[in-house]
Symmetry: C2
Subunit: 337 residues, 2 copies
């Protein structure tokens, strides 16, 4: 990292993207970026024109040496092929391996060399030529042979959510002495749908998906991954509370827009837990909202890393045809034509 000195890569304003591997580093030939949903949404809203959007992403990477959205602070992940491996790299990769990075683009040194010519701006998956560097403590998954690459990448991008949901639901079942009830805000999205099936497999009781539109509700119903599908704007706390009805033990926030903190708190019973996976979450809104509502709920910052999270998420996709159907439909919507 280069600016300022002494901080970790995610905090740094600018990284050195030189594609020469240090002793513990791995250099990747990049093929595709997968922008974080909150980052992509912000960029697309600010730059509705595709050429402007490409220029904005290129500008960020040129200036910062990494694809970290300065507004949201978030990044995403990438897919590519291993070009070179430093002699002391602990990652177990070899040249030619096709991999996805499981650490954020916000701390991954990156150079883009093709001007993003292959990206039409219509989705968060960005075809891209360039190079990236993985550090010794990075995480990268070798892509599975049995799944289309873009599908695997799409799952791996959110693989922390189902793994942490699994852990928290299992803990809550024990604490409550009965199957925990669960609501997923944004249950129609990528992390939301995987979190729903993770909660089911962890032994959840009543399982509620909250979605913003009838189209998403139909998709979740068709996938058969929730007991109840309710419609509400997750940013409206009163509407969320009314839609969910009886408060649940675990609320999982997978909505990539700001302002969902209070609805999540209102949906959650005393002694319950809220897991915030959205990068649009405001720390102070969550902390002060729960205090202001005198809500005795535990609130977790969704850590994107849980040991085994990649295999766990890929196995969910393989085992749950409903979720796979939703992911494949999303692929068709957002892939470049």
């Amino acid at each position: 990292m280069i600016e300022p000195a002494g901080v970790l890569p995610q905090q740094a304003w600018r990284l050195d993207p030189d594609p020469t591997p240090g002793p513990a580093e791995v250099v990747i030939d990049v093929e595709r970026l997968n922008l974080d949903a909150a980052s992509y949404r912000q960029l697309r809203e600010a730059h509705p024109d595709a050429a402007d959007l490409r220029a904005a992403v290129l500008g960020i990477v040129a200036e910062r040496g990494k694809m970290q959205n300065p507004v949201t602070g978030s990044g995403g992940m990438l897919m590519g092929t291993v070009r070179a491996v430093g002699p002391d790299s602990p990652l177990g990769l070899k040249p030619g391996d096709r991999v996805a990075t499981l650490v954020s683009l916000s701390l991954t040194p990156l150079v883009i060399t093709d001007g993003l010519a292959g990206w039409d701006g219509a989705g968060e998956q960005v075809p891209c030529r360039g190079t990236a560097v993985l550090f010794g403590r990075s995480i990268a998954a070798v892509l599975p042979a049995d799944l289309p690459e873009s599908l695997a990448l799409s799952v791996l991008d959110v693989c922390g959510a189902p793994a942490l949901t699994d852990r928290i639901v299992r803990r809550k079942n024990v604490e409550r002495g009965r199957p925990a009830t669960v609501c997923v805000l944004g249950g129609g999205g990528k992390s939301g749908s995987l979190s729903l099936v993770a909660a089911r497999r962890a032994g959840a009781g009543r399982l509620v998906a909250l979605v913003p539109t009838e189209a998403e509700a139909a998709s979740v119903r068709a996938a058969g991954i929730a007991d109840e599908v309710v419609l509400a704007d997750a940013r409206n706390p009163v509407a969320v509370g009314a839609a969910v009805g009886e408060q649940v033990d675990v609320t999982v926030v997978c909505v990539d827009v700001p302002g969902c903190e209070h609805g999540a708190v209102l949906a959650t019973a005393d002694g319950g837990t809220v897991i915030f996976f959205s990068m649009a979450t405001s720390f102070s809104a969550a902390a002060l909202g729960a205090e202001g509502l005198a809500a005795d709920v535990e609130m977790l910052v969704g850590n994107g890393y849980v040991p085994g999270h990649a295999d766990f998420a890929l196995d969910l996709l393989r085992a749950e045809p409903g979720v796979r159907m939703m992911f494949e439909a999303r692929e068709r919507q957002t892939s470049p034509v």
Copy 2:
């Protein structure tokens, strides 16, 4: 609340501060505000001159109908006397009760009538005349008779931190099958010192206080509230990791400056928990930092509300002369002369 309609008070830009109680409301004659530490620090840095600082606070309250710092999003609390109680108020208060509010100023309708003439700007405790409104779901503590009011207010302001620390350390003792080791970043401050003694009483093992200066270290040592006192800038992750040495099971972040997320993660062992109490915490820095470090740590948004938190914190102050000494020294430093 008035702008925008349909949100909860903390999210609202502007509240209606009219001091006429609704059926479930309580009106308070305000005597003192206690600004949130992050808010006070930001305001003082932006307005070094006392008259400018007073004008800034008055301007916020006039515009928003509440003392919510637009930069930090945080508020603080207040002390006063109950003026009027609506017939349906569930708070159990009566006119004449001297109370402190335990919900944030960021959602408390407020009018200031004395121009803050009694505040010299030197500390976060702000003598103030005016009125405030408590809602039905608010929390207010009747001030104890055995403690000076400013001291009680100072403790109540941070009473969520020791209560949640107690809960998490007790849980971690069970999970680990041995006394959990604990580090408090900012162990010399109000929430930090109370969290240290709460951790000790919850049965913590090794107990580390991390502080930024030799003066604070001397104060913590003299109070006898930690096994080890180490010096480091909490914003420097590498320095924090080196100062703490062996990673701990629970890290409590009580430093009211931005940029402490990665140090907290680095100080924490796999399977450990970080509790963020600082309102200067960045959600995305915490989430992406842990992911980027492949750190399997649970990260909690410090909820300022835990049932019984006010009595718990006041009892800690009564029982722990070291902490009381630190609070009283702080009072002397920051009280208006």
